[in-house]
């Protein structure tokens, strides 16, 4: 490995020195590359591998480092915190950062479970048959609680509940006792309402919306003695979803 010594030597030089060395690196680079094929201005990486040539399952069991994730997430929170008007605004921005991720994860999740027959999405489905798109609320929530959580955090969520209040039949709760995103986030006392898992709430919202279940998802602190950072994700489905749910129930759609 040549990288570490070079890195340390760069550390010893001044800032300007590193800048120069990196620019000279860049100047040398095109000479080493093979001449790119003339495809209408399309720039292909030097190894000729576009994203379409890479296998989606290759990183299936690969985990990213927790330290780098914590660092990146910290930066995301800082970024979202710029020029916000309040805690709600900050949570909204975190939510918006997670939303597109949810849409993508959904496709990836289904792709991975169709291409490999071994670990099917739901435990009940037989191998090799592709998983079904969730049509009912319960199947969707199980998808989030199980496969999605496992994809993100390597474990299932801790609880899945339906609101007991008759006024709010459209509310469901997913509980995570110790959310990974909050592990290295310390919230100042005056902002104790803030829960940075709003990012994860955004992911859930993306998944619900992607499946055609219009929903609002928010993250709430509900600490207990044992789990000080316990977080409840409140999923509130829209009226259209509840209406459709009734029709589907009547038709016996599972």
């Amino acid at each position: 490995m040549a990288a570490p010594p070079r890195h340390s030597s760069m550390m010893s030089t001044s800032n300007a020195g590193t800048l120069q060395s990196s620019t000279t690196d860049r100047q040398q680079a095109p000479q080493q590359l093979p001449t790119p094929q003339p495809t209408q201005g399309l720039r292909v990486p030097s190894n000729r591998k576009t994203i379409y040539d890479r296998h989606l399952n290759r990183s299936r069991n690969a985990e990213s480092s927790r330290a780098s994730f914590a660092y990146l997430f910290g930066e995301m929170v800082t970024y979202a915190q710029r020029r916000v008007t309040g805690i709600q605004d900050l949570e909204k921005r975190l939510n918006e950062q997670g939303y597109p991720l949810g849409l993508r994860l959904l496709d990836l999740l289904f792709y991975r479970s169709t291409s490999t027959s071994s670990s099917a999405l739901s435990s009940s489905s037989t191998s090799s048959s592709p998983p079904n798109r969730p049509l009912r609320i319960i199947t969707l929530l199980h998808l989030i609680h199980g496969p999605l959580w496992r994809l993100l955090f390597q474990r299932s969520a801790d609880a899945l509940e339906h609101s007991v209040s008759p006024d709010t039949p459209n509310e469901y709760m997913i509980t995570d006792n110790d959310p990974l995103v909050n592990t290295y986030i310390s919230v100042p006392r005056e902002m104790n309402m803030l829960n940075c898992a709003a990012f994860v709430a955004g992911i859930i919202e993306g998944v619900c919306d992607g499946c055609g279940f219009e929903a609002k998802v928010s993250a709430h602190n509900q600490p207990t003695e044992m789990w000080p950072s316990r977080t409840v994700f409140l999923v509130r489905f829209g009226d259209s979803v509840m209406e459709r749910e009734k029709v589907l129930e009547r038709n016996g759609v599972k």
Binding site: I51, R104, F110, R133, L135, C211, V253
Partner: protein, 183 residues
């Protein structure tokens, strides 16, 4: 067979279109629609009109591949649909080749409605060109799955937002390749 394939975003924006012909049985992969002068817009029209049926079928069938869902007899157009979990629709219009017996006497678009219903029935008797046979369904399913893989790769790109047009020439080659392989 001639094919017209389109991808619609969850908000019904067309994000990818391609027309191609069969490569099986000595086909050269060039689309030859029955009414070439109107095909360009009629195909889009027919495909989009099947969206209502897709949206109906979407909540009764949980599978991603919804199989053959719609037929437009005047143009002998068969439409198969595939739904991605995130709400994008893949629609494939396929049109079996016109049999030589089925009057090549210059079908104008005016006489479009009358004579082609009979050719539909005639062509469905031959298995190779039968768009509703299990073999065709299977081939279309394989094609859809292969496109789905490329679509997931596109959507995983950090520079791609859902609903954006897919312009990548690599994606186009991938779809063409899948069409060559299966259809």
């Amino acid at each position: 067979m001639s094919y017209y394939f389109t991808i619609l975003s969850p908000t019904d924006t067309p994000i990818f279109n391609i027309a191609f012909g069969t490569s099986k049985g000595g086909g050269d992969g060039i689309a030859r629609f029955r009414f070439p002068d109107t095909a360009q817009y009629m195909n889009q029209f027919i495909i989009h009109s099947s969206l209502d049926i897709v949206e109906e079928a979407q909540w009764t069938n949980g599978g991603m591949y919804l199989k053959h869902i719609d037929t437009y007899p005047p143009a002998a157009a068969y439409i198969s649909a595939f739904l991605t979990p995130s709400g994008a629709r893949f629609l494939l219009l396929h049109q079996p080749p016109q049999l030589p017996s089925g009057s090549s006497s210059g079908l104008g678009s005016s006489s479009l409605l009358g004579s082609s219903a009979s050719t539909t029935r005639a062509s469905s008797s031959s298995v190779a060109a039968n768009p509703t046979s299990p073999q065709t369904e299977e081939a279309v399913r394989q094609f859809m799955n292969e496109v789905y893989e490329s679509y997931v790769k596109t959507s995983m790109s950090p520079f791609y937002k859902q609903g954006m047009e897919i312009k990548s020439p690599v994606f186009r080659t991938k779809v063409t390749g899948a069409g060559k392989k299966w259809l």
